[in-house]
Symmetry: C2
Subunit: 559 residues, 2 copies
């Protein structure tokens, strides 16, 4: 049990510099991989550290199409927001060319910005957004809403689709908390607030949103809602779709206002659930009303291990089913044997000690579990921790040093930095996720992992396929895969083959095509498989109503 | 703390006879009002017990339009389900003429069945439903889906709208649990299972749905999902929209299959939330996948009182915000001063004693609170009860005899019987409900009550307006009003005036137009006020996609 360290708190509220166009985050926060990690990568993948990592091409060498925006279109945009907020310079366009997937960064690092928008506009408020949508509808300009730009599914690529030009509407100036109701524990936010800004605005009032995806430091609250996001602590605080209570959606046909009137309603189908997950294809979210929670001051940590993935899954199932929400941990992470092995391998001497430890305890397929509980009362936290331990002990867990949980927390946002570094040494790093019922979880895990391994074997490429369960529910859980492999001659084709095989395995295996990464361009076919032809007709009908010209985020969510 | 009595368990699983066409439930379960209640009604409303209660007109005297169904339409329906399952007799048509609102029963008791459907069909399965929808679409026959027939908002009235005739599709033969997954704690049901049947099917497996609206003994699980129902224990087990994980919707354009693939997904807008609350206007639900919970064996009971409604609301807010879900009570009911007074008045000697008790404790505006906790472990129940008591004591609660909570449980499904009896003596009994944020709850309560009192004063009619809070959430709660008044010369106009005034007060006061009764015909305008013109266009677009001919439940949900 620890009072929350200022370092841990800072990580949640510290605003960092925006990511460079070719990578992630603030370079000052990157920590190079130590030698021991490279030793492991060489052993497992035959990958060696290059003497000089390959750098992204220089900005001036990026292949950027000429802006297709007509002068009168440019003038019309300037008339809405003012000349200072309409950007056609090379940097702005390249920064808005893509999100932050491996595919996006691979292409950008190699100088391919073919998908850059023709112009970037930064409106001041909802009114300017409504006006911009009118202008773009009348002039048939594609609109790509842009929050933090952290999509990993192609959700913000700036291609115009069938339209003459594409306008990226960057929401960074809509960055205020508009109101807070401490009695009802709700707050209203503009969409462009980044994760740390949201926490920074809530903290003086004693509240938190409790929403920390790995993209937290860069992603925006509007993006969370638009993509049905889940965060690292969503087992405790709830997914974004459980936290959102109202939203305003500016569309080309007017503004859809779904105010929070009540915590729950029987007034027909819940239209708010069309806004949540709308991914900029139905409109631009200009305001969200969120449930907030008391800001915790203390954290309890635990790490433990199970002898096998199957037993560990049963343990987490007990945790989710036998302990009430609010008692079970706020953060639950179970690594499968591959992720456990790699994590311990990357952890250096401490990792070697732990590996020896699991060996001594006869855990050859050991699975690490990291648990965090947050709150304001040490006794309650102790009781919650004891209750979880009791459940997991009965399921076969053994204790591990809680330093592992601290280490996880310290590195909770560092994954993307690591990927940037690995890409400089010719390593492909891809993540993908799904969710399914408890009864189907292990089978789906094995099926997806096998599909990725099979396609990599076909390519003659060694691969690490590791997975964790990071969100548990009474009826099921998520699976989050990380794929690491040496880049083949055509890394884009290599990526596509892996992605296609994994998606096919997920769909055929009964999982959802995405648990929290959203649809973007990558999962458009998967979504259709999931909701069927009639489901897609319904979605299309909603889009045709709110965006009859089809200018909103063309190619994303629905074709 | 008590092991659940067999009487309490029986009430949840005992299948009762279907309601008569003019009233509620099994007449054998009705308990006539005692003298003391009539004394109170005379004192408060000037209402006296009639020597002979007015009886509903005889079935043969009900004014029933000739069936408008053409012979070839009749033959086409028979070809799908078989002659034995197509009913055009007087009783079947009158039984399907309406739901169970005051308005419905007032009209039927007086012999007005103008809204009766022209034919009642009872299909065997989903395939027959799909075929029936094809036939009705091709022949332009209105379709009214009918589950338990317990709508109190005009959701099942059998009028054909702009079509030649209306077909009531009664789902009573789709009454099986199709599968259960005890590992994931989910089960799949056909839509026509009534509440007790659902519990009866789950109990041998050790599970419960935990969904007990007052209509439990008559209503169906398909109806629950179609109306976004909430039950008396939904504070504990969750609203139906929190329990439903998948659904199949037969429509005139094909079948929308939204299987449960995962406990949560980011695969676009959640289309399942269009099925939940679709009220038969988008299709007929033929299958639902629900989360189920371990069947409890023990119940803890508590009753307490607050000095004022405002303090009681603050107490319930603390309960909802400070205690985790799963710790706080499963049933929470707070009666406002009027409902408390009437409840104690109706409770006879025990009530007089309690009234004296609250007086002695200087609680002139006392508000009763009833709490139930359910579970399988006595120690946990004791701890949960102690935690709630601690929160409420700090908020100003005083203990009352827990017999009050037992009495509530015993009478939990008895309200509609009481209404039947009162209607026989010329008394109007109407219920309506809303929900809003905690910050707005007392203001909305006062506003709605004042609006009903004002319109009654305009009519020169005394009135009892009582209210309870029965569903609490971290961000707000529900308000459930019961209106009791002597019937005026034109009780239908009287009802309409009350309903119109209450709805206007709810909409203007920032509440939702319905927390769990759904839209039906009564709240069509309220829904439009709530989601706005663009929201209604979205809903209409969805309907046009799934029901382009508009035959599904015309006049309900959307015009």
């Amino acid at each position: 049990m620890f009072h929350m360290t200022s370092a841990a708190q800072d990580a949640l509220t510290r605003t960092i510099s925006r990511s460079p166009w070719h990578g992630w985050g603030d370079p000052a926060d990157a920590h190079p991989l130590p030698d021991r990690s490279w030793t492991m990568l060489r052993r497992e993948l035959g990958v060696t550290r290059r003497p000089q990592p390959t750098r992204p091409v220089a900005l001036e060498d990026v292949r950027l199409p000429e802006s297709r925006l007509a002068p009168d279109d440019l003038a019309a945009l300037r008339a809405v927001v003012g000349t200072a907020y309409v950007h056609t310079d090379r940097l702005a366009r390249v920064e808005h060319a893509a999100g932050k997937s491996y595919l996006d960064l691979r292409r950008l690092r190699d100088g391919d910005a073919a998908d850059a928008p023709d112009v970037v506009v930064t409106p001041a408020d909802a009114t300017e957004i409504e006006q911009l949508l009118s202008v773009c509808r009348d002039r048939r300009l594609a609109v790509v809403p842009f929050g933090g730009g952290t999509s990993v599914v192609g959700g913000v690529t700036g291609s115009p689709g069938p339209f003459a030009a594409a306008v990226s509407i960057d929401l960074r100036r809509l960055n205020r908390m508009l109101s807070i109701d401490p009695v009802s524990r709700t707050a209203v936010f503009q969409p462009g607030m980044r994760g740390p800004d949201v926490e920074g605005a809530l903290r003086p009032h004693g509240f938190t949103l409790g929403h920390y995806p790995q993209s937290h430091q860069e992603a925006t609250i509007g993006g969370y809602v638009a993509t049905r996001s889940a965060g690292q602590a969503s087992t405790g605080y709830g997914r974004i779709d459980e936290l959102v209570l109202g939203a305003t959606l500016a569309t080309t046909e007017g503004t859809l206002r779904l105010d929070m009137r009540a915590p729950a309603s029987a007034a027909g189908p819940r239209l708010l659930d069309l806004v949540v997950g709308s991914e900029g294809a139905l409109g631009i979210i200009t305001e969200v009303t969120m449930a907030v929670a008391p800001m915790p001051s203390q954290t309890a940590y635990a790490a433990l291990a199970f002898p096998s993935f199957g037993e560990a899954v049963e343990g987490l199932r007990s945790l989710a089913q036998d302990l009430p929400h609010g008692i079970r941990p706020d953060v639950v992470r179970l690594s499968d044997p591959d992720e456990t092995r790699v994590s311990l391998g990357l952890a250096g001497r401490a990792g070697q000690a732990l590996a020896a430890y699991t060996k001594a305890r006869r855990l050859p397929a050991a699975c690490l579990v990291v648990l965090l509980w947050e709150g304001n009362d040490a006794r309650t936290l102790r009781e919650r921790k004891a209750a979880s331990w009791e459940v997991l002990r009965r399921a076969g867990a053994v204790r591990m040093p809680s330093a592992i949980a601290h280490a996880w927390e310290k590195g909770r946002f560092s994954g993307p930095y690591l990927r940037d570094e690995l890409m400089g040494h010719g390593v492909l790093v891809e993540t993908l996720e799904t969710a399914t019922s408890w009864a189907n979880l292990v089978a789906l895990h094995d099926r997806v992992a096998a599909a990725i391994r099979a396609v990599s074997a076909d390519q003659g490429v060694p691969v690490i396929v590791q997975c964790h369960v990071s969100h548990v529910y009474p009826t099921g859980a998520s699976l989050y895969f990380t794929v690491v492999a040496p880049e083949a001659a055509d890394p884009l084709a290599q990526w596509r083959a892996v992605k296609t095989a994994a998606t096919a395995a997920i769909v055929a295996g009964g999982g959802t095509v995405t648990h929290h990464h959203a649809v973007g361009t990558d999962h458009v076919d998967g979504l259709a498989a999931e909701v069927g032809e009639l489901g897609m007709r319904v979605l299309r009908a909603v889009k045709d109503t709110l965006d009859p010209t089809g200018i909103l985020n063309p190619g994303k969510l629905v074709r």
